[in-house]
């Protein structure tokens, strides 16, 4: 027997003994009759009017969608003041069964697009008209509270595309995040037509990453 063969033989024997020993030791383990099942859910619900979609209407109209004729002002979404006492019909609720606080974010998958015309209405911030694009306002206080300074809308409340906006940084179990939306379309010379896109809402454990916003 050569030296290499002896070494190899010793190593194989050593590995065999080690695996046999661990198998024998493993047989001494026993499982005890004790266990616990823990459930810590995360759940949200969106209001019916928000789930159906955000329909921007002309000026301050509520309830019904009309074509936008003034592209230099912040036009309402139909559900902004359509609730009781002119409250908003848009909300995202953290379910009562949740045991943790959550963070709620939303993103638009793209700008508003008309495939026939191949034309876009931008949702993102622009300085024209004293601030234009699509805007939101958020509150957890009451459906009537979300108000935006429509004359000079703040850039912080502008929509983002493929990037999360966080209207609900901290929402407690059972709490509702009320939202209102406005659109000051740009460019102002956009052709007549129906424009749309997809919009996504995500809830995660409080203060954790919302992940990729790409749709």
């Amino acid at each position: 027997m050569q030296v290499e063969e002896k070494i190899l033989f010793c190593l194989i024997v050593l590995l065999g003994i080690a695996s046999l020993a661990s198998m024998t030791l493993g047989q001494n383990e026993a499982t005890g009759p004790i266990n616990a099942s823990i459930s810590q859910p995360i759940s949200i619900n969106t209001s019916g009017n928000l789930t159906v979609g955000i329909f921007f209407t002309n000026g301050t109209q509520i309830g019904i969608q009309y074509p936008i004729t003034n592209v230099t002002i912040e036009n309402n979404a139909t559900g902004n003041y359509w609730g009781a006492s002119y409250g908003t019909e848009y909300y995202v609720g953290s379910s009562v069964g949740n045991t943790i606080n959550i963070t709620i974010g939303f993103t638009a998958c793209d700008n508003l697009y008309n495939s026939t015309l191949g034309a876009y209405i931008n949702l993102t911030w622009d300085t024209g008209d004293g601030g234009q694009g699509a805007f939101f306002k958020n509150t957890t206080a009451s459906p009537t509270d979300a108000s935006l300074n429509l004359g000079t809308p703040n850039q912080d409340y502008a929509f983002k595309v493929d990037s999360w906006t966080i209207p609900g940084p901290l929402v407690s179990p059972g709490q509702k995040l009320y939202l209102r939306f406005w659109l000051d379309p740009w460019p102002n010379n956009v052709p007549s037509g129906i424009y749309n896109t997809t919009y996504k809402i995500r809830a995660v454990e409080y203060n954790t990453s919302l992940g990729s916003a790409v749709c």
């Binding site: 050569q2 290499e4 063969e5 070494i7 190899l8 190593l11 459930s39 810590q40 859910p41 995360i42 759940s43 949200i44 619900n45 969106t46 209001s47 019916g48 009017n49 928000l50 789930t51 159906v52 979609g53 955000i54 309830g63 359509w82 609730g83 009781a84 019909e89 995202v92 609720g93 379910s95 069964g97 943790i100 939303f106 997809t198 919009y199 996504k200 809402i201 995500r202 809830a203 995660v204 454990e205 954790t208 990453s209 919302l210 992940g211 990729s212």
Partner: protein, 237 residues
């Protein structure tokens, strides 16, 4: 007069109608955090459920998402390509799309099983990005070309791997209708896998070398070299 009365009654009916409103739509996961920890060769299952706090039947897509699965490979600060880990090599979900009945709570949530079974030999991808001037020519032949291509390769799982990400549950439709705004929830995902230790890898390599040396000694180096040269000659002729 009659027409006026009908008009007044109809107006009053419209006036007293409640605010038009649709029922809310929701989605949930029974666990806000899902940790997966284990060694190569371990096989175990983790269950979680999809909830539906709304009054519609919802179709929900469930998928994992990784934050740190793509790493840049650089040479002297210049990015050569991306190296992508494939989560399927570590764990798999048994379903990706589920129908969730209305009013589904934690107790009767639609179950999804994660089969955690990390392998010793794992598949990974190299992602190469082509420059825009080249993309023009490629798109001439392939309109859908996204500007990058992947080359899969196999490697040993040496050392440990830590992944952070999420398991997302996203509503595809409710009562067959596509939502205008897509609600989704995400459960935090943490994966810690212990592969083969580096020392074991060195040991394995030494063992293989030793085995080869022993075989060569037994057969004889001369025999092996002559059989190789015969094979080469045969191929040439």
């Amino acid at each position: 007069m009659k027409k006026l009365a009908i008009f007044v009654v109809f107006s009053l009916f419209l006036f007293f109608l409640p605010f038009p409103s649709f029922a809310q739509v929701g989605v949930g996961i029974t666990s806000y955090s899902i940790p997966l920890r284990g060694n190569v060769g371990d096989v175990y299952h983790v269950n979680f459920g999809i909830m539906n706090p709304s009054s519609y039947t919802t179709k929900v897509i469930v998928y994992p998402e990784c934050d740190n699965c793509i790493n840049e490979v650089k040479l002297f600060g210049f990015k050569l390509f991306d190296d992508e880990e494939i989560l399927d090599e570590y764990f798999k979900l048994d379903k990706s799309v589920v129908d969730v009945p209305p009013g589904t709570t934690q107790q009767n949530a639609v179950p999804i099983t994660i089969r955690f079974a990390p392998k010793l030999v794992i598949k990974k991808n190299l992602i190469f990005y082509t420059p825009e001037w080249l993309n023009f020519f490629i798109r001439y032949a392939n309109k859908g070309y996204a500007g990058s291509f992947k080359i899969p390769y196999f490697t040993l799982l040496i050392g440990t791997r830590d992944f952070k990400g999420r398991i997302n549950a996203e509503i595809l439709s409710y009562d067959g209708m596509k939502p205008g705004v897509i609600p989704s929830v995400a459960s935090g995902l943490e994966v810690h896998v212990r592969g083969m230790p580096f020392e074991s890898f060195v040991f394995l390599v030494l063992m293989i070398i030793l085995i080869i040396v022993v075989i060569l000694r037994r057969i004889g180096f001369h025999r092996v070299s002559s059989s190789i040269s015969k094979l080469v000659r045969r191929k040439k002729s």
